[in-house]
């Protein structure tokens, strides 16, 4: 352990120096005593003693330097030797470095995602004291009246602010140009400690009732909209077709409070009244759109703040009770309590959705790295056996065994550091690619992927550990060489049975890990395929969706729009609705009949979609019974509704639903009755994973308010995107200031599956990579084993063994190893597949077809890998083998 002492002494230099001082001081005192007893005076004795001691400083330095210099010298020599060895074996070096680069790079890429999504703190002042306020423990969205109540109790906190995620349309008319942004309260910037880089940020005076429409831009938006001009303050931006005055630009390093979203625009909450007009959410007690964060008051803890908040909760809830809810719901509302949770890394929908998936991926890439390390270890082992001769000579010449071990470890670590350097480049690109897979609420995520210290530390640690992992075995084997035996045998052995163990064990391990990865990939892939082909209750392909935002409400305009759009060439049918499947927007309602009063309030909850005629034929939902909406169902005529099958079964049981009536509870009383005129098949609305989607469809013409924001669906025979230009020109004529947003139904549905696509794609990619690495490892080990046993095989053939027996012998080894690996792999997979079980759809984690397929693939690949070496062994000319002595 001498080297360990030396290494640690580098860091204990101070204490060491002090110790040495004390020790030498003692020695000096003793010497003085001795000289005094022999007759000198005290002063003379001291001078003599110090003269004898010489220069203490120099002595101390010599003691210390001898260590460091020797150590550094040896290290430098080892590194030079390592590079020389790598240059001499370029093929091996390239294979090893590339495999390591793939493994380490993949780990770094996933870790930098995890860092950006889960670990990094917000770039604000004291993020560790930020607390997110929640209702009832989990809900973190509030209404504005609730926020105002909380704000009024500001003496409980050291700072409180509210913010709301939003998308703002910067285009004054026509096709929308959306940016992510936030509604912010007056104390947002001050509490977070985020400064402005130009002009000023929003402050408390700006966030009062009736405030003017002002805005703060992000640095990025300032560059793109105004080219970074200094006179941007005071300019006007059209936001959702309303003019807003720019008052400042936020500091460059701040990109919003939500991980996964880059906020470009900050508007004061009070200006929402300007934007949404009479329908605004400022006093609306049922519109949930704000998140609230607080800091504890100076001197209080988070727990104390939580307690004070909980104490205030009953008054807060009572003051904001929404009037139009059934009494049961009202009672539940009043019982809600307020809690806090730490929010140092912000609140993030992205994090909630992807944490599980990222953890799975972390395990996957760790396994891939292990497989890559096993390959490199095998390669090094093979080389160590070849270099036994060289090691024996060095030992005979006097090198210490520990020195040999250290040198081989250095070689391994140099390899892994080279792999890490290459891997970081690859990881940079990979992380950006992965981010494009992430999307939240239908919009692509944005992450700050700057490589920071944590990621670099992680990469270095992984590289070092891998280097030690695959370098230890070969180094140990080298050091245990008996110089005499190795020199005598001249680097060859006729029967090398004992050496076989480690190499094959590594291959078996690779087979096991590959099985785990293949099975998981197979499960995730099947699950994703199930999701994309599941019966959703509508036809996805060939439908263009246009989200329309009219400048104000209108009863006749939507109908006119439909007529004009119907006339476009290639259009088969057109309709509009208030919701489309997987659009992350939705409206709910409750249902009651005379005989149906659900025990649990939740059971009576359904989606409600306001539709035009022709909706079902456009979206491709089958009408099972009754009729579709017709022109005669309009405002003033009796209210009708079409329900889905599951609603029919739930509410009306066995009875025929046609002609039946139901009501929607609206606060103190129920609505006027609706008559059921048709039943359609079940459709999935929120997500493809929903088991059923209870929906009621009401005619848009009979809605409480005339429409202003709706989605037009166009089914066409030609590719939907080719219709965009035509739609734009029609809308330009009918309503120039309307905002438009285009997408296709298939794209919208696909976006809702982004997390599953991420998992399936990456699991398959890494499963394939692992298989490739295992194949290379298997082939290499087999070929090497055959090459080493040339003598033995040659003798066997010369003595009369049939070629077939030789092949069987070789292939038999492979089969044994693969079977062992598979058994271990099955055991590991039982645990591992439990990790992915929660992501699966339409199949269980123990799906036998997938497991059997993975095993079959592995066995097939292993046989393939073994085929070439076995063939070569069988075709060997025994005379050639024996002659090569």
């Amino acid at each position: 352990m001498a080297w360990l002492h030396r290494f640690t002494n580098l860091f204990r230099a101070d204490r060491h120096s002090r110790d040495l001082d004390r020790e030498m001081g003692f020695h000096l005192d003793e010497r003085v005593d001795q000289l005094v007893t022999s007759g000198m005076t005290e002063r003379e004795a001291r001078r003599e003693a110090r003269r004898r001691f010489g220069n203490r400083g120099v002595m101390k330095e010599r003691t210390r330097d001898a260590d460091i210099v020797a150590w550094l010298d040896a290290l430098a020599a080892d590194i030079r030797q390592a590079f020389r060895a790598l240059r001499a074996n370029r093929g091996f070096a390239v294979v090893a470095v590339v495999s390591l680069a793939l493994g380490i790079g993949a780990n770094t890429a996933i870790f930098s995602l995890i860092n950006a999504v889960m670990l990094r703190s917000l770039p604000v002042r004291h993020p560790e004291t930020l607390l997110s306020v929640r209702m009832g423990g989990t809900d973190d969205v509030f209404t504005n009246p609730l926020w105002e109540q909380i704000r009024a109790r500001g003496d409980v906190f050291g700072g409180a602010f509210a913010y709301g995620q939003a998308r703002f349309n910067l285009a004054p008319a026509g096709e929308a140009r959306n940016v992510d942004g936030e509604w912010v309260s007056g104390d947002y910037f001050r509490t977070l400690g985020v400064p402005a880089t130009l002009g000023r940020t929003i402050d408390a005076a700006d966030d009062v009732r009736g405030c003017p429409a002002i805005a703060v831009m992000s640095y990025g938006l300032w560059q793109t909209e105004f080219g970074g001009a200094q006179n941007a303050v005071g300019k006007t931006l059209m936001v959702n077709a309303h003019p807003y005055t720019v008052v400042g630009v936020v500091d460059r390093g701040y990109s919003g409070i939500t991980v996964g979203q880059r906020s470009q625009l900050y508007l004061p909450i009070c200006s929402e009244a300007v934007m949404d007009g009479p329908d605004n959410a400022i006093d609306n007690r049922s519109s949930w759109w704000l998140n609230v964060m607080v800091r504890p008051a100076a001197g209080s803890t988070a727990a104390q703040t939580a307690a004070r908040l909980a104490a205030a909760a009953p008054d807060v809830m009572a003051a904001t009770l929404p009037p139009d809810r059934p009494p049961q719901a009202q009672a539940e509302y009043l019982k809600q309590t307020l809690t806090v949770t730490p929010a140092a890394s912000g609140v993030s929908q992205l994090r909630l959705q992807y944490t599980g998936a990222l953890r799975v991926l972390m395990v996957v890439v760790a396994l891939v790295l292990l497989i890559a390390c096993a390959n490199v270890a095998n390669l090094l082992l093979a080389r160590a056996t070849v270099r036994q001769h060289e090691a024996a000579i060095r030992l005979a010449l006097g090198a210490g065994r520990k020195r040999l071990v250290r040198q081989m470890l250095t070689e391994a670590i140099v390899l892994s550091l080279l792999g890490a350097a290459l891997g970081v480049l690859f990881a940079n690109w990979g992380a950006r690619l992965l981010t494009s897979f992430l999307s939240v609420r239908g919009t692509a995520a944005w992450l700050d992927l700057a490589i920071d210290l944590r990621v670099l530390a992680f990469t270095s640690a992984v590289a070092l550990l891998s280097g030690i992992l695959f370098g230890l075995a070969p180094a140990w084997r080298s050091a245990r060489t008996d110089p005499q035996a190795a020199l005598k045998a001249q680097g060859r052995s006729v029967v090398g049975r004992s050496r076989r163990g480690v190499g094959w064990a590594l291959v078996a391990g690779q087979v096991a890990l590959s099985f785990v990865l293949l099975t998981s990939a197979g499960l995730l892939l099947s699950s994703f395929r199930n999701l994309t082909t599941t019966h959703a209750g509508f036809q996805r392909s060939g439908v263009l969706l246009v989200n329309v935002g009219l400048p104000d409400t209108s009863t006749s305009l939507p109908g006119t729009i439909l007529e004009r759009l119907r006339a476009l060439p290639g259009v088969r049918s057109v309709a509009f609705s208030s919701m489309t499947p997987m659009s992350n927007r939705g409206e709910n309602t409750f249902l009651v009949t005379d005989s149906y009063h659900p025990v649990r309030k939740r059971d009576g909850l359904t989606w409600v979609n306001h539709i035009s005629e022709g909706y079902f034929s456009t979206i491709g939902t089958r009408l099972l019974r009754g009729r579709d909406i017709e022109a005669s169902d309009r405002a003033g005529s009796s209210q009708v509704a079409i329900i889905t099958q599951s609603v029919a079964r739930k509410v009306f049981a066995a009875a025929d639903p046609l002609g039946q009536q139901f009501r929607r509870p609206m606060g103190k009383q129920d609505s006027a009755p609706y008559e059921v005129i048709g039943v359609v098949e079940d459709t999935k609305f929120g997500s493809l994973r929903d088991s059923t989607g209870p929906v009621i469809y009401l005619p848009a013409a009979q809605a409480d308010q005339p429409v202003q924001f709706f989605t037009v669906e166009i089914r066409s025979d030609i590719p939907p995107t080719t219709l965009i230009a035509g739609v734009k020109s029609v809308m330009a004529q009918l309503s120039p200031p309307a905002s438009l947003q285009f997408t296709t139904l298939s794209e919208q549905v696909a976006r809702s599956l982004s997390r599953d696509r991420l998992l399936a794609t990456l699991a398959t990619f890494f499963g394939g990579l692992a298989l490739l690495l295992a194949l290379i490892g298997l082939y290499g080990t087999m070929a090497y084993s055959v090459a080493r046993r040339r003598n033995e095989i040659g003798i066997r053939i010369a003595l009369g063994a049939a070629r077939q027996r030789v092949v069987r012998m070789v292939v038999g080894e492979v089969i044994v190893v693969v079977i062992t690996g598979l058994c271990v792999g099955v055991a590991l997979a039982v645990v591992a597949t439990r990790l992915v079980a929660s992501f699966l759809f339409g199949l269980r984690a123990s799906d036998p077809a997938t497991w059997i397929a993975s095993a079959a693939v592995l066995i097939g690949v292993a046989l393939l890998a073994g085929a070439a070496p076995a063939w070569r062994a069988a075709r060997m000319n025994p005379m050639m083998a024996l002659r090569e002595e």
């Binding site: 110790d19 004390r22 020790e23 003692f26 020695h27 010497r31 003691t63 001898a66």
Partner: protein, 112 residues
């Protein structure tokens, strides 16, 4: 120059002498080691302070001795060195090689 040479020779054997001292007399501090070597060799050998502590440090690093702080009879703080198992083995090796060396030198000198 000559000074360096004198130190070098003694350095090679200094480790041997220190190890033997500790084996014979148990745990001792640095000053006592030099006193013992001087008296046991009947003043023929004297250890330079400048070479003692570097040598002791090196031996501690190599794991042949271990050191602990203790108190002397005069109530002063001193570092006591004692032999480890590895040190004992090293002592045996060094004694053997020293015996070989002197034997060889003696034979050459006897050759007249």
């Amino acid at each position: 120059m000559t000074r360096r040479q004198k130190n070098d020779i003694l350095q090679g054997t200094l480790a041997l002498l220190v190890l033997k001292t500790l084996a014979a007399r148990g745990a001792m501090h640095g000053f006592a080691i030099t006193a013992h070597i001087q008296s046991a060799s009947s003043d023929l050998l004297r250890v330079e302070e400048g070479s003692l502590y570097p040598a002791l440090h090196r031996m501690e690093q190599d794991g042949w001795v271990r050191a602990e702080w203790g108190t002397t009879e005069k109530n002063r703080q001193a570092r006591y060195y004692s032999l480890t198992a590895a040190g004992r083995r090293q002592l045996a090796r060094e004694e053997a090689s020293w015996a070989r060396l002197t034997d060889g030198v003696r034979r050459v000198l006897r050759y007249a």
